[in-house]
Amino acid sequence: MHDTAISLIELGAVFFGLGLLGRLAWRIGISPIPLYLIGGLAFGAGGLIPLHGIEEFATLAAEIGVILLLLLLGLEYSASELVTGMRRSWVAGLVDVVLNALPGAAVALLLGWGPVGAIVMAGVTYISSSGIIAKVLGDLGRLGNRETPVVLSILVFEDLAMAVYLPILTALLAGATLVGGLTAVGISLIVITVVLIVALKFGRYVSMMVDSPEPEVFLLRVLGAALLVAGIASQLQVSAAVGAFLLGIAISGSTAENATKLLEPLRDLFAAMFFVVFGLNTNPTTIPPVLGYAVALAFVTTLTKVATGWFAARQQGIGRMGRARAGAALVARGEFSIVIAGLAVTANAVDEQLAALATAYVLLMAVLGPVAARVVEPVARGMQRKLRPRTA
């Protein structure tokens, strides 16, 4: 009994502490993710306060956090939105992949982490944080802006890219050869196509299986289905996260909306736990050696995301200021970069320092992203003013 009491106190302290950190984060206008990571760094191995007795729960909670993050990412866009989004923004989407995956891959190769490490870091620097971006756009009152649909359709494309990327990553992390990797690419492309077709044509039936007018029954069914699919996927050597993500895409319409509403608080809870556990498993002393690389990556990938947004917005005939805003909005990286790094770390297939680099990188980008979105207008105006006399 005594052990349970201690565990409860520790867990309560962790959640309460995270609550305080989250409040502080929104107060100063940044995402709470970096503060959760710092919280984890402070608690874990080599940190200030070691935690005992709740590791097992925390690990499982973190795993559920990843599943919920990916499930809600899948729920966010309907299958038809994904398809039209891909049609409309595939050029900008490809520019996004090339510009933002390459810097990560290059740094990983430079550090001698091999092709697997390069693929992991490519994902970490590529994927924007749709959570942070949606929140920032809403806070800044930019949802009515003409460049906002451009930003959103890039996020939709990244969403689809994840569906292809995650199975490949899982196969590579499990030690697949080049042929095995290519097979994984083929299989994942087929699976995502099948899931999209099922969601478009038979989404009603998938939704019907989990839907219920009682919120309680509905919550249990959706959560149960997600954990079941994730568990089975994990058993089949496909990552649990991918299973949950594909389930999210398959559930559609009003069921998806209701599920999102019900699951959001749960996701926030478990995802917070996931960030803490990721921080826990990262030894803070491994960060300083890679800090220089993290800063360089942050600098380069800020510019590449701005370029992506600029390019995509220009294609849609949006003015210079709007292009700058679209670029700056996309800068934030967050939860999914950590999810990717987390998959790699759990598989023990990459250099130990990768966790440190990913942590430092996301710490920088999750803070930098909202700041960039905020300051872009005055900065762009200042630059315009400076440039005008020369061009005139």
């Binding site: 866009y77 009152g141 009515g144 003409r146 959103l152 996020l155 200021m321 709007g322």
Partner: protein
Amino acid sequence: MNVEVTPLPGLGTRQDFVSRGGRRIGVITYRDGRMEMIVSKQDDTDSCVASIPLTVEEGATLAALLGAPQLVTQLEDQHKDFAGITTRQLPLAPASPYDGRTLGDTALRTRTAVSVVAVVRNGTVHPSPRPDFRLVAGDLLITVGTAEGLSKAVEVLETG
């Protein structure tokens, strides 16, 4: 009028049009039914000077306020065959002595020969109000009469 409908993936839809002055005006409808009115900036029409959340009731009120002149135009169209008859909308000022009193108390019909054909309140049109219709400051009285009668009616509503 060319209303552009743009899907906002994951959020809802944006519907807007460009006004004659070059401003984008429109509405964002979120998936959960919430609505926001948006107005673009003058110098940078890509961005918004304001996006104002409106409840269903507020949206309907705004729509009716903007639609009220159209009601007057319609009535004018109907009366244009009769020379000398004009339709006007007269607001009931907060300082009016008839705030809280009935339409019959104003005795508009007997004093100015003006008819009140409708009252617009909070976006709802009350057609053909009876003499016991209680007026409230902010009401818009849609009136029909001669030009002379109408200017007299303005005076009556202001000063009693």
